[in-house]
Amino acid sequence: MIHIAELHYRALAIESLTIEPGVTAIIGANGSGKTSLLKVCAGIALTEAGTILIEGKGPRQSAIGWVNEFPDRNFLFDTVSDEIASALRFQHLPPEVIAIRTEEILHRFGLAGLSGRSVRELSGGEKVLVALAAAMILTPRVLILDECDSHLDARSMAKIDEIILRSGIPYILRSTQDMETAAGSNRVVFLENGRARFSGTPVTVFSGLEETLFYPMTWRCRL
């Protein structure tokens, strides 16, 4: 479990929130605090007050993978293979181990043909795949995706979904503006003005949002 208590960070104020294993969609209006919540869960930012415990440990003591909304903002290195290998290199693993694991993940993600290419030359969908591979190479306990579907087409997104759902990573947190994606997640958290107004299964959360535009269009159309 991820336990959040008395959390304060920028506009975010969450009294108590429990995130169970599985895929959790974080939804809410622009400026409601989605990115702030993901940043403190990732340990990218420190809370001003309160606690976040991921299986009993703080975010900075936990293995976390992060994929930014903007494909280009994920990259530190020029080539696809250098970018993907970077987390292993920062851990000073032996070069042979790094080579084997990088090769393995390049194949698993269907990126083998791109390994020597510059990340700048890739399409938007390929960039997100590379960022995802770099985030997943350390097999994190928590994978966080901040609206990475915002700049992707449905086909690229379906491929990414398939990879993350088969990854075996216990906690996947993703913010999204696509309510159909949220409706297909295991759990949903609805943020409003920095507070977690609803959390639970998609049916529970969206039943509280039936009168709003957040209600999934496919449900509205009874499909």
Binding site: N30, E69, S156, M179, L213, F214, M217
Partner: protein
């Protein structure tokens, strides 16, 4: 006085970069045109060609009766010239108070535009773009980063845009304005699918929600949220 008609014509247009290329042929008249296509299919390239901001490698782009052109880029920060939100509105020749209250950003007037969240910045940018009429308005992924409430609001504005040619490039799958024409980019070529609802059968990128309605014998008249609901609830 004769009413000047506006028309954008692409004749044998081709743009290429290395082994990648896109070809386009067609005429865009007054009204709202949706162009769908995957990421990397050439939507932005085509938008720049249409606006005259870049030249095709071959072929001809003609803008008849078009004296004002506006392009809205996918990433709103490309448009920023002001050092405060207020200055940014003024740089468009607009009244900051009117613009900011229309998008709920009144309290942000003195803030650095780059301190806004991406969605807030996009909201501000679209409010500036949509407060004027243009003979040719090109919107490149206007919905990315916007929340659903804002997507619906922008769609509503676009559905009621009365003059000029508006070309909307998007890979959005659920929330659309009411459109006059649907196009798509497929296998490196721009293709005309037709007007809704006849266009649905030619539209390879037809969003799943529309396809499911069609399959259920409930073909919507158009693609806006109201059209989808009307079709779904039809008895």
């Amino acid at each position: 006085m004769a009413v000047q008609t506006v028309r954008l014509t692409l004749e044998g247009v081709r743009a290429s970069q290395g082994s990648w290329s896109i070809t386009a042929q067609g005429t865009f008249g007054e009204g709202l045109h949706l162009v769908s296509g995957d990421v990397g299919s050439g939507k932005s390239t085509l938008g720049l060609l249409m606006a005259g901001l870049s030249a095709p490698s071959s072929g001809q782009v003609t803008r008849d009766g078009i004296s004002s052109v506006m392009v809205s880029f996918q990433f709103p920060e490309y448009h920023i010239t002001g050092t405060s939100v207020r200055e940014e509105c003024e740089s468009w020749g607009l009244d900051p108070a009117t613009i900011l209250s229309s998008v709920g950003l009144e309290a942000c007037s003195e803030r650095d535009p780059f301190s806004l969240s991406r969605g807030e910045l996009k909201r501000l940018h679209l409010a500036c773009v949509l407060s004027r009429g243009y003979d040719l308005l090109i919107l490149d992924e206007p919905f990315s980063s916007l929340d659903v409430v804002e997507k619906h609001r922008i769609c509503n504005i676009l559905s009621h845009r009365s003059r000029g040619i508006t070309i909307l490039f998007s890979h959005e799958q659920t929330i659309f304005p009411r459109v006059d024409h649907i196009w798509e980019i497929r296998e490196g070529r721009l293709r005309y699918c037709g007007s809704p609802p006849e266009s649905f059968s030619n539209w390879q990128h037809v969003p799943p929600i529309i396809q499911r309605l069609v399959d259920a014998g409930k073909t919507p008249a158009n693609i806006s949220a109201d059209d989808l609901k009307e079709a779904a609830w039809r008895t």
